[in-house]
Amino acid sequence: MWWGPRRRVWPVSVTVSTPVYEGPFDLLLNLILREEVELYEVSLSSIVDAYLAELENLGACDLEVTTEFLLIAAILLELKTRRLLPTDDRFDVDDEFGLWEERDLLLARLLECKTFKDAAIQLRRLAADASLSWPRRAGLEDAFLHLAPDLLAGVSPVDLRDAGRRALAPKPVFHIDTEHIAPIRVSVADAVRDMVAEIPHEGTVTFKSLTVGMTDRIAIVVRFLAVLELFKQGLVEIDQVDTFGDIHVSWLTGADLADIDLIDVYEG
């Protein structure tokens, strides 16, 4: 299941908050509820555009939001990939149910996310109301202090040393590598254009050669989607000999370049 153990969990920063994305579920919620669109009709490029616009509004590149965005973009791509794959005529009941099951699971997750989101809003209200009232903190008057039991009774010097070690322990410092974070500017449409220019001359190419030099996971996934798009349009043949082996992409002779529907906005 794509959300199961193999899904990577991304760290969330506590200090970063944007009005738009507070996590992958949050983004999905926004996409579905605010945009009132079907998930599968969401164009990746429009998400990227909206996201980049959001970043510009923020005035600074927000690493936190960026990483979460990458995650959600990957999830969306995965969903879209499924959608793009040609439906097998031999109807596979198990697969079909698997898909529904996934959808139900996702729905449950989204509902849960929404529930706690609303609960959090209520907590904020409670906290805001409570913060209008300060507690009395003056404590015991001097006259009674001598009566108070020794709070250190039973505390040994070793206990104090242990407390000191705990308190003075160096806090872990984490290294942050932000080099790979760059605004995503890839689109499936661009990738299709590139490949239409490239594959016919080569005849058969491998997917590896189509993604040579690419380190950005999203760029590679987008390339893959573009190949699927060409396949869908009947322009290429795809062959993968071994599981996880390289994918061979062959230009179909006779395919008319004029037929190519050069998508402007990738619509899955």
Binding site: V9, V12, V14, L31, L107, K114, Q122, L123, R136, L140
Partner: protein, 222 residues
């Protein structure tokens, strides 16, 4: 005459309670007061409640609040502007939405492990958990007896005080926040995996609804 004696007694108790609350830093539990005064807790609660009403009726600048499992003197919320002026540094710093959502999960699902919170949030929550812990909203309440012995988190006394509530069960029921059928429907529509397969959708969609109900988070403390 008997009545008068009782009133007199109540008056003494009222005064004693006022004095004790004045020197206490933390909320004082009603049963502690009851123990000290050698009287039923219910009576202490009644007196404290009438004291609180009295201050309010007299238009005092302070309140007697039941918070975090006990009674405490606090400034009246209506005087917040003046107190803020006096307490120069803002004592209350806001939590981010991410931290609040995490806090809500811990509050409603306690005891809960970091990983369980992570699974609900869909993101890693280490940093948020640490912040909430440092700020005294949550604390380790137990260790999971299962494999891994995960630390289980729950809300602290400080959380109750920050929220101005007496106990966790005073939080609004989580059930109040479960999205209504309209939203569920909208989400289902949004998640249509096969928009083309209309027949299947009608059939399985109904089933999915039933299935998702089971997944709707319910207040498991009830």
């Amino acid at each position: 005459m008997g009545d008068e004696a009782v009133i007199g007694e109540d008056d003494d108790i009222r005064r004693a309670i006022e004095a004790i609350l004045m020197v206490s830093i933390d909320p004082v539990a009603p049963n502690l007061l009851a123990q000290l005064m050698e009287m039923p807790t219910r009576k202490v609660e009644a007196i404290c409640s009438s004291l609180a009403d009295e201050y309010e009726a007299e238009g005092r600048g302070f309140v007697l609040l039941r918070v975090g499992g006990g009674y405490r003197f606090q400034s009246h919320p209506a005087q917040a502007a003046w107190v803020e002026r006096f307490v120069l540094e803002g004592q209350h710093s806001r939590l981010t939405s991410a931290a609040l959502e995490t806090l809500a999960i811990v509050a409603y699902k306690q005891p809960i492990s970091r990983n369980q919170v992570s699974a609900i949030r869909g993101v890693d929550v280490d940093t948020v958990i640490r912040t909430l812990q440092q700020r005294g909203y949550i604390e380790v309440v137990s260790t999971d007896p299962g494999p891994g012995n995960a630390l289980m988190f729950g809300t602290s006394q400080g959380f109750l005080e920050s929220m101005g509530i007496d106990k966790v069960s005073d939080l609004p029921s989580l059930g109040d926040f479960v999205p209504g059928p309209e939203l569920v429907e909208a989400l289902e529509r949004g998640l249509l995996a096969e928009p083309d397969v209309v027949e299947l959708e009608a059939e399985v969609g109904g089933e999915a609804e039933g299935g998702s109900d089971a997944e709707v988070p319910v207040d498991d403390r009830t």
